[in-house]
């Protein structure tokens, strides 16, 4: 068994003067303290990557900086799916008794540490260097392509997509650490600057500074345990040119495997934490995961289904779209929020029942997927 025993999260937005290591250290300290552990208890370290400060051995750079000599350490790189991929690996590492307490940590000063152009350029390199990148695509363009096709096949409109931005913003308004604090409307989203149509500025997550961390342990350290029930991955392609048909994307494969590994059904799920780099990402993943019928996710948002008091509260911290996106830490915030909800510590954002949670991460252009189920244990 494995448990998410501690979580740490900084505010997302501007952290002027903080390096990636500073933000990682801050989040790591919070997570270790939250787990009721000392840093000497940590014997495994997994970390993501920093586009601002790339390094071939970031985990040991961090371990030295932070003052830990782990028995197991390395970085993990699966784009936006990295946070959950680290959690899945940590789960297996503690279950197989390689280590007792894994610290998973990531942080990046992506907003203040480099220009916006540099961020966009660095990320666009997930495209094929010979057959895609020379055509001037950006990450929003890769997802814009997917969006155009999804909208065409399932009759989804730009106004439908706007609903996801509004929902994430509404949730962010209740979290003091979120990057954005102004409510938005469908009209605001529709009127926002075109980025890569059909995606507009408010359909896109921001670039943020921030750090997130959590500890995965063999035994629970608190009264309420958050246990990893099961998880699974799927990797169908890297480049959007080589992506399968919409009906064959990795989210459906990963969730089917995760359900089998966890022994649960979607009807058991009470809280959802789903990757939301763009409004289209969230719309598609909700439908691929079975949290909404095909083409119906937006109407479920409108009816309040995914709201804090709805049947399936979703990303109650505001998600990547409105809490913020600092790279690997971006989606780790989803897990931090889930753990807080499951342990009844989400304050004014607390949902009624987060006994079983479904988390899903996506890296690349719907290329790499990790699905995971967590269970509250008293």
């Amino acid at each position: 068994m494995s448990f998410i025993t501690g979580v740490g999260l900084t505010a997302y937005g501007r952290h002027e003067g903080s390096s990636s290591l500073d933000l990682m250290s801050k989040a790591a300290s919070l997570a270790i303290a939250d787990a009721g552990l000392k840093r000497s208890d940590i014997d495994g370290i997994l970390c993501g990557y920093s586009t601002v400060a790339p390094h071939i051995m970031l985990a040991t750079v961090f371990a030295e900086h932070f003052g830990i000599r782990p028995n197991y350490a390395h970085a993990v790189q699966v784009g936006g799916a990295t946070g959950l991929a680290m959690t899945m690996l940590a789960h297996h590492l503690v279950e197989s008794r390689v280590v007792r307490h894994v610290l998973a940590v990531s942080g990046e000063n992506r907003l203040t540490g480099q220009s916006r152009d540099a961020s966009i350029l660095a990320l666009a390199q997930v495209g094929h260097p010979d057959y895609e990148v020379p055509l001037g695509p950006t990450i929003p363009a890769y997802y814009g392509l997917v969006a155009s096709r999804y909208m065409h096949e399932y009759g989804v409109t730009q106004e439908d997509l706007a609903e996801f931005a509004i929902l994430m913003r509404a949730h962010a308004l209740t979290h003091p650490g979120a990057q954005f604090h102004d409510a938005i409307t469908v009209a605001d989203v529709m009127a926002s600057k075109p980025v890569a149509l059909p995606l507009k500025l408010l359909d896109c997550c921001p670039v943020s500074d921030g750090g997130a961390a959590f500890v995965v342990s063999r035994e629970r350290t608190g009264e309420i345990g958050v246990r990893v029930l099961g998880s699974a991955q799927a990797h169908t392609h890297q480049h959007v040119t080589a992506a399968p048909a919409l009906s064959g994307l990795g989210a459906e494969i990963a969730i089917a495997r995760a359900k089998e590994a966890a022994g649960v059904a979607i009807s058991d799920v009470r809280y959802a934490a789903v990757y939301d780099s763009f409004t289209i990402t969230l719309a598609m993943l909700l439908e691929d995961l079975g949290l909404a019928g095909r083409g119906e996710a937006a109407s479920r948002v409108r009816s309040g289904y995914f709201s804090r008091d709805g049947k399936m509260p979703l990303n109650t911290h505001g998600g990547l779209l409105s809490y913020g996106h600092c790279g690997v830490g971006g989606a780790m915030a989803h897990l931090v929020e889930t753990q807080l909800q499951m342990t009844g510590r989400a304050g004014n954002r607390q949902v009624r029942d987060a006994s079983i949670a479904l988390l899903h991460g996506d890296g690349g252009v719907l290329s790499s997927h990790v699905s995971m189920f967590l269970e509250r244990v008293r």
Partner: protein, 123 residues
Amino acid sequence: MSGNKQGLADWTAGAEAIVYQFCAACGSLQYFRRSFCCVCGAPDPDERCASGEGTVYATSLVCRAATPETRAHVPYNIVLVDTVEGFRMMALGDNDLSIGDRVTARFAPFAGRLVPYFARTKS
């Protein structure tokens, strides 16, 4: 359509051509060039020139570019085209292209090089 194992020059190398590979062993097509078939692993797939005819699968009009070279072209339309030969490719195209349009490729300068550019097929 003639087979060739010598490595035909295509637009990625500055030539006015779209080249794909055909595996004689298993019959698979692939667009990204490799020295083997990514389906069955057989070495040295045949190389063939595509006709430049296809159908628009997806589009995204880029309005925010990240380099001075690409910014000069904003807005530009990135398209995925399903070619009549049976592989999918990324290219640029007219800004008013819609999914399902039958299109024909030419080659146009973009950010300092020549790239495939699709317009609606003239009937």
